[in-house]
Each structure stands twice: as structure tokens, then as C-alpha cells.
């Protein structure tokens, strides 16, 4: 075959390749050209009958054609492959605007009171305070008597304190009325009776009083603090509460006011106000806690020597400081389990307060 014919064959095959519309078309062209009985293959088969010189020159020419055709086939195939993939992907197009589920992390919430409890535990842990706990059902001995609240005190009346129908037994073995603890202070007593000083505890928990109106609920949360050793004094308490308020409200400075007051279980006693600029409301004072030096009688009532040991205690409303910090308007909502409220004021499981990461951030 002459060189001109080879050239024509090449042109023809390359033309067919270029016009193949899909992978099947390409395969057809490949078989027709390079298949066993393809036109190029058949020409290759003629080489054997040729004279060596002719074979050499024709062989080289035909190989050249073969290579060109083969390359063109590959190139065209790659192009068609790409187009086919593109078409497939185009067909798989999704509506990316369809909504996804929020997922459990988006739905779940921690109650603000639990969150604030964790914050407080974190802050006081840094000052060496353990968390102490006590039962909700106490005898009036622990809830009142040992705290130097005498039997005729108004707080012990039925309209202030929940009593259980059946009496219990006091620590000294006498019959004693059971009450729902009206404050977390019995935990002070339990701690002093069971632990040798030095003592540093906070005691958070539920407390109960017969009150129900716009600003009172029959159950609420308090947190108690107690420090007992041989030298700790009012100045230490002041510092500790100031440091707590700064850490809790996450401000560099906080104005605090200690006003003399009276509680049966502390002497001297004080009520403490915080300058409301700490929560972004300058110009007001907000009462947040009561505190004082533990009354010597209370220390003695727990079997410790009041001449040797002294200390201080404070109590504050956990719900109240939660409301102050997080701008929650109504105490009653705390116990209403309203999903709208919980989702709005609640916290993510990941919002674990730490000293390093901050309380609320």
C-alpha cells in the first residue's frame, strides 16, 4: 500500500474518532481500526509477506498511524468520560436549601440553676471549698434548734415551715418534728458534727418555705458557705465574697455593701448588697446574701469548742443570683418546665464553666 493511502486511512480514522459521540461510538471505531480484524491491524498483518526493506519502511509508517489513532482514541475517550461524569453529577444535583435537623446538641439544654451551680462550685473549688450535702427532710433540731433558733421563733410556725405528718428522731434520740429544711444551714451542723476543722464547704440545695406569690415559690435553691478554723475572721469572709462576686459576675471590680443585720445563727451578722453595675444596671443596690460570724452557741451545739474555733457562714439564693446574672425576670418560671423558657434561658451541654475558659463564655 502506498504512503498516500496510509495518509488517507489515518485522516479517515481520526475523523471517525473526532465524530464519535459517546463511549460506545469510540469503542466501535477502536474495534474497526485496532481490533483483531481492524483496518490497521490487517495492514500490520501484511507486513510478514513483505521484503525486509519494504517491511521496515512500511512497518514504521503503519506504526506511526497506529500510535496516532490510539492516542486519539484515548484522548477522545477521556473527554467523553469526563462529559459522562459531568452529566451524571448534574443529574444528582440536590436541593441544598432543604433543612437539616438541629441534632441533639442543638435541642438539649441544661437548666440555668444547674449551670450556675456548676459555676459556683468551680469558683469556690479554687478557694478550697468542698461541696457538702444534706437531706431535705430534717428534724427541727437540725433545722432550727442547733442553729440557735428557739422554739418560739416565728420561723418555726406552721405558716412559714412545712412540717411532715409524722415526727422523726433527733440526733440525741428524742422525738422531734420533721420539717422540710427551710434553709441549707442544717448542712453546716452536719458538717461541723462530722468533720474536724479546718472546714471549708459550700452546700447547695433545695429548700422549702410556705410562700407562694410573685416573688416566692414553696421550693427554691440556696447555697450555703461555711469556713471554720482557729483564726478565720470577718475580713476573710469579706474578701472571699468579693472575689466570688467578681468571678461570678465576670467583672474586674464589684461594689459591695455590708450592712449590719441579725440572724440567730451568726453574730455579728450582715446583709450584703452588690452594686448593680455588675449586671449592667448602675445606680442600684441588690441584696444578694446574708452572712456573719458563726454564733458561738452554734459551734458549741455541734460539739466544737467555741473558745478554740471560730468561723463564718453565708447563705444566698441560687435562683436569685441566677436571675440577676442572666436577666431572668420571674422566679416562678424556674420550676415551670416551659420548653420555650428552657430553650431560651438554658445552656448547651458543652457550656461547661471553667476557670480557664470563663464562667459563661
Amino acid at each position: 500500500m502506498a504512503g498516500a493511502d496510509l495518509g488517507a486511512l489515518e485522516t479517515e480514522l481520526l475523523g471517525e474518532i473526532a465524530s464519535a459521540a459517546d463511549l460506545a461510538g469510540i469503542e466501535q471505531v477502536r474495534v474497526a481500526a485496532l481490533g483483531k480484524k481492524g483496518r490497521v491491524s490487517e495492514l500490520m498483518a501484511t507486513l510478514g509477506k513483505m521484503a525486509p526493506d519494504e517491511r521496515k519502511s512500511f512497518g514504521a509508517a503503519i506504526n506511526q498511524v497506529k500510535t496516532k489513532v490510539s492516542d486519539a482514541l484515548d484522548a477522545r475517550k477521556a473527554l467523553l468520560d469526563k462529559a459522562a461524569t459531568a452529566a451524571k453529577l448534574a443529574a444528582e444535583r440536590a436541593d441544598v436549601t432543604l433543612p437539616v435537623r438541629p441534632g441533639p446538641m442543638g435541642e438539649g439544654r441544661i437548666h440555668p440553676v444547674s449551670q450556675v451551680f456548676d459555676e459556683i462550685a468551680e469558683i469556690f473549688a479554687d478557694m478550697g471549698f468542698r461541696i457538702a450535702e444534706g437531706p431535705d427532710i430534717e428534724t427541727d433540731d437540725l433545722n432550727f434548734t442547733r442553729l440557735n433558733i428557739p422554739p418560739e421563733h416565728p420561723a418555726r410556725q406552721m405558716h412559714d415551715t412545712f412540717y411532715l405528718k409524722t415526727p422523726g428522731t433527733s440526733l440525741t434520740g428524742e422525738k422531734a418534728p420533721f420539717v422540710l429544711r427551710t434553709h441549707t444551714s442544717p448542712v453546716q451542723i452536719r458538717t461541723m458534727m462530722n468533720q474536724k476543722p479546718p472546714i471549708r464547704i459550700i452546700a447547695p440545695g433545695r429548700v422549702y418555705r410556705m410562700d407562694s406569690d410573685a416573688t416566692h415559690t414553696p421550693m427554691f435553691h440556696q447555697i450555703e458557705g461555711l469556713v471554720i478554723d482557729e483564726t478565720t475572721h470577718f475580713g476573710h469572709m469579706k474578701w472571699c465574697l468579693e472575689e466570688f462576686c467578681k468571678a461570678f459576675f465576670e467583672v474586674d471590680q464589684v461594689k459591695m455593701r455590708f450592712r449590719a443585720s441579725h440572724f440567730p445563727f451568726t453574730e455579728p451578722s450582715a446583709e450584703v448588697d452588690v452594686g448593680a453595675e455588675a449586671i449592667g444596671k448602675p445606680g442600684q443596690w441588690l441584696e444578694i446574701l446574708g452572712c456573719g460570724m458563726v454564733h458561738p452557741k452554734v459551734i458549741a451545739n455541734c460539739g466544737l469548742d467555741p473558745e478554740k474555733y471560730q468561723g463564718w457562714a453565708f447563705g444566698m439564693g441560687l435562683d436569685r443570683i441566677t436571675m440577676l446574672k442572666y436577666g431572668i425576670p420571674d422566679l416562678r418560671d424556674m420550676f415551670n418546665a416551659d420548653l420555650r423558657w428552657l430553650r431560651h434561658y438554658g445552656f448547651s451541654a458543652f457550656d461547661v464553666p471553667t476557670l480557664a475558659g470563663g464562667m459563661s463564655t
Binding site: E107, G128, K165, C240, F258, A337
Partner: protein, 810 residues
Amino acid sequence: MKFTLSWLKDHLETKASLAEIKAKLDQIGLEVEGIDDPSAALAGFTIARVLDAKKHPNADKLQVLQVEIAPGKPSVEVVCGAPNARTGLVGVFAPLGAFIPGTGITLEKKPVRGVVSNGMMLSEREMQLSENHDGIVDLDAKMADKVGQRYVDVLGLGDPVIEIKLTPNRPDCTGVRGVARDLAAAGLGTLKADKKLEGVEGTFGCPVEIKLEFPGGDDTACPCFAGRYIKGIKNGPSPAWMQKRLKAVGQKPINAVVDVTNYISIDRGRPLHVYDADKLEGAIRARLSKSGETFLGLNGKSYTTDDSMCVIADDRAVLGFGGILGGEDTGTTEVTKNILIECAYFDPNRTASTGRKAGIQTDARYRFERGVDPAYIEPGLDLATRMMLDVAGGTPSTKMIAGKPPVKAMSIEFSFDRVEKLMGLKVVDAEIRRTLEALGFVIEGKGPVFKITAPSWRPDIHGPADLVEEVARIAGLETVPSAPLPRLDGGVTRATLTDGQKRVRRARRTLAARGMVEAITWSFIRQGEAEHFGGGAESLILANPISSEMTTMRPSLLPGLLAAVQRNRHRGFADVALFEVGQAYRGDQPADQFIAAAGIRAGAARLSGTGRHWDGKAGDAGIFDVKADAVSLLQSLGFDAAKAQITRDAPAWFHPGRSATLRLGPKVVLAHFGELHPDTLKLLDVSAPAAAFEIFLNALPPEKKKSRAKPPLDATDLLPVTRDFAFVLDKGVAAADVVKAARGADNALIASVKVFDLFEGGNLGADKKSLAIEVTLAPKTKTLTDEEIEAVTKKVTAEVRRATGGEIRG
């Protein structure tokens, strides 16, 4: 406790402003509840004179007044509807722009029936001074020379009323003088000396006998009763100055002698009573009442006594409760001629108890229940006598005293360095001495330990700490320097939470991470609910619940959560996942209180998402949703739930066939989970299916103290092999038994067994099911041969058949 500024200044010589007084009161423990300054609301009103009054041209009942509002200035025209408006009247004028407290209106310039009124002449009601609205204020014509001056200044109405919230330990400050003494001690002035009283001791004996009638002489209820008779009084209204003060602090003037008793009660914290002596029969005495005696109180109500109350009685009947309320029958009136003054001491606790039982709160009770000054019985009687003679005349008898004043001197050994030890505040000895003496304490001895005697009016002083408090509050707690609390262990803070506390924390965050929302519900629930959930024992019922919905300590967290679920459903949330971690009660002992973590999934509130979604139908949450919660929670708390036994004996508030209990051995119950029984939903009025779990955190075994370093990882490069099996089983066979049997076929080689399919129905028959498991073989040392795999496969088939009767599905 209320008093006015001028009243305070009767006892306190001071130049301090009202603001300084308020700040000092707050500092020293006499918290100011409020200051009512009437001059503030009336400050804009001035004295004015009507120069001319003419009938309004367009209205019969109105007049047009020409009013002189400042001397020598042109008059202003005012329209007035008061019938008493007339030429020459001196009254009170409010200019345009003034706010009228009685009507709530701010005066604007606008015509009244065509005539512009440039202000207003005021009635007392419009100034909220009284209910009088018969006409405008009509002052003495002599007041004309005060025209233009402030009404409050001219009438002396600008006397601020201070109200303090008195703590129960301070009976001395139920009297103005006590407050003044505290302020003087705190450096705000000096306490004025008491005037000497003249002419109070009469020449004739008290004609009414006074007795203490207590069997066995136990007169603690009323250890002292002093009295004096005054004959020939003229009991009209008390003088204006006294009425003004009483009114300012909310007391209604009655008559001269009663007003004196009320005045001294506030002035000195010394309650008194006065009888119309002519209405008394025989002797007057203090005694304990007998059950069922009755009297009509001065407040118009009848009272019946019991046998614990201290009463005052004459020969005929009970007259009143001692120290609380006098009787109507023997009270004084304007025609009373002869009186008996009572000045007694009543026991604080008995007074409080009687007052509570009778439901009476009076100014007398307020003072006696705190403990009045026992040394001020005779002086109080003398002061009352003097003032009554001043306001009502008459001739006094000698005084008669039954019993003795219960004055007990409280002496305390006190070293001044106690102040610094307890407060961390250095106060110089001279200042400690000055403070205590200013408060009435007597200091004896040369130190360093002094003998300090408390004044008779301070029953709250018992020991050194009380004296420290006196010094500290007068110095001001703000002067105590803050002192850093030393670190307990130095260095970095140690962990403080107990395992139990950590579990509570972790439980909360695990459940929140599973899409549940934390609620806090009441510790007390309805009795019926408590009973349904296995509680309601007598020992857990409140004696005085606040409502029938909160009678009984909860045995479980679920009833409160279910009620919360339904409240949310009523608000339009069909699918609700709530949890609570908190206490519940099996009995009244501390050990009976336990911590549970409970959750409810109602409607389609599932882990994957809540409610309907385009990407798949969300079915209602069921047993396996809450089983997953329970198992995950246990896992999160460091407990492998696979180690627990699952038994079918969940409590009756669960669906009997779709619930279970997780146990650790036969005794320890770790958790219940499952769908709730329809009866439970009905009881709590829940309108959707709900599944719940409750885990008992205290029941979990204590965490083993492991070494911090973990054991080395056990992993090989040999590929695990899996083989699937499908068994046909009786429907009642538990999947766990199949898994356990398969697992046990070769403990060394079988790494895991998973259930991947459950099929019921079809041609299996109604009592059969097919369960498919995937068994993973994990070779440790060499690749398994086909023969070895085949051998294990046979063992699995045989073990499952042996344990459950299951056959390989053909």
C-alpha cells in the same frame, strides 16, 4: 417601726441631713425600709389669698377668682367650683404645671367654660392630706401674711417619716429614743438628756387594787404590774402636735389619754394601757386565763381564751390579753372621769404565742414579744402620768406596783482584742470603750479582761460575740479590711467534687447532649400520683401542704416530668423530651433520700430529631429510645451496661410488655425504662404516648480507683472475619440469650456479636421469629483457615440451639 425626723430630733441633737441619717441607720443594722417625705409631693403648693370672687359668666356652680399668689405681684385668674370659695379666703394654690397627687392630673392652661384658669385652689383631698373634699382649704385669715410661702413649710407638714425594718433582736429600737441612742453612739449627734418629771406622785393611795394571781407564784407570764389612778380628768382630743405625729406614723388619734399611751409606745418602746376606772369591778389582776373565757377587744372583735394565755381581769371578767389588746368594756371615752394606767411586763414568748393563736398583731404585741425594757416600768408609768396630766388634767394617786421588775444584769467577761480576732478589724481600746458606753453598757475592771454589763434594754446581749457585733456595727462593717483567705494546700487547687457529685454533673450534661431539656420540678406532688408511683407513705405526707397538688414527697421524678410534658403539649409542643436529675424519697430518713436521673420522651421526640422531617418519618419514641438513653447514661457514668441484667419486672407504671429493669445482682436496681402504662398517662392526663427511664445514681457501684495510665492497646494486623447467621426462634426467646450463647461458643476467638435483623410473620408462623446475627472472629496470632472458621461456625450454631432451641433458617 415608723417615726418622723422631728420626733427623732426630740431625742437626738444632730446637724446630720436626712440622707446621712438614712445611710447611718442602714449601716448600723436599722435598715431603712422607706422614707416618706410629704413635702416632696406638696412642695409646689403655696399659700394664696382670694382677692375677689365672682360668679362664672357661663356656669352657675363655678366662680372666677382673682388670687394673690405672691405679695405685691399681680393676681392670677382661677376658675373654682368649691362652694366655700369667697373673697378673703386664705388657701392653698397650685400653679400651672403642678401635679395634683389626689387626682393624678398635671395642671394645664385651658379654658373652663370659656374662662382660662391659671392654676387651682386645692382641697385637702387633692393634696391627699385627708378625705375632706367639702371645699377648698380654708386657713386662718391671719395666714394672709404668709402668701407666697410654701404650704408645707407654713403648716409644718415637711416632716419626713422614716420607716425602719427592725430585726427581732432589737426591742430597744421599737422606741424613737432607742434609735436616737444608736445614732448618737454611731457619731451622728448626742442623745438629749431626759427631762425630770415633776408632780407625778400623788398624795392618795391607788383606789384600785392591783394583783398578780399566779398559782404557786410562777409569775413569769407577768412578773410586774404597776399602775396609777388619776381622778377628775377631762378627756377630750389630744393636742394638735401629738395628733400630727401619731397620724404621721399611721396611728389614729382616739382621745387624750389613749393617745398618750400610743405616743409613749412609739417614743419609748413602752406600751401602756389605760382603763376607765369607773368601769372596773373590784381589783384588777394579771393571771392565766381559763379555757373558754371571752371578752370584746378594743378592735370590736370577740376573743375566746385558752388556758395558756395571760389576761388582765377584774373581779367580774377578763378585760383583755395582757400586752396585746385591751377590752372595749373598760376602755376610755370622751366622758371618762377617772382612769387607771397600766404599765406592766409581759413575757415575750407567751405574748407571741397568744398573739399568734388569737391572730392579733398590735403595736403592744410587737414590743412585748421582743422584750420591753424591764427597768422602765416605773419611769414609763411616771412619764405616762405626767403627759396625761398635761393633756387631760386630773389628780394622780400614788403608784401601786404588784411584783418586781424582772431586771437581770447580764455581765460578760470581755477582752477588747476579741474585736480584732473575730473581725480582722483593729479598733482602738478607747473607741471600743466609747462605743459600748454610748450604747449604755457599763465597763468595770482594769483589763485586759473587763466586766461588761449590758443595759436593761438589750435582752439580745449574751456573750463576747454580741459585744464584738456592737463595736463592729457602730464602726461600720465597711471599715473591715478584706483579707485574702489563705490557700488550704498552697499551690494548685485540688479537685473538690465527690464521685456522687461528679455523676450528677455528668448525668445532666450527657442527657442534654442527647437532645433532652433539663427541668426542675417540685419535690412534692399529689398524694394520688405518689401512690401510683409506689410512694405516698404516711411518713412522707406534709402536715401543712400549700395546695392539694403538693402534699407528698415524690417517690420518683417521673410524675413531675409527666405533668410538665403535658403542660408543654398544651402550649403546642407535641414532641417533648425532658429530663431531671434530682432527689426523691423512699422514707423520711437521710438514707432514704436518693438521687435519680429521669427522662421522658413523649410523642416523636427522639434522639435523631424531634417531630416530622422531610428526610424520613419520625415515629413515636418508644422503649428502645429510652433504653438507648439509659444505656448511654450508664456508659457515660463509667458503668458498662452490658454487665447489668435486664429483667422484665419494671414497676407497674410502665407498659408490662415494653419495659424492663436493669439490675446488678438480685438486689441492686440500677434503672427502669420503657413505655409508660396507659393508666399512668391517664392519671397524669398526658395525651400522647410516652417512654421514660429512671436511673438511680446512688445504686451505681463506686468507681474503681484505676491507675491514670491506660493498659496497652491490644490490636493485631490480622483481619477480622465476619459470618452471618439467621436463627428461627420461638417468639419468647430473648435476643440477649442468643447473643450470649453465640458469644460463649468461643470466648477467645469471637470478638463481638451483633443483632442485625429481626423478622416476624411471613411463613414463619405466628409464634416464631427470625433473628440474624453477625459474628466477628478476631484472630490473635495467625490468619484463620477455612477449617477453623467452619469449626467455630458449627459451635455457634450448636450453642444457640442448645441455649434457645433456635435452628438455622433454611
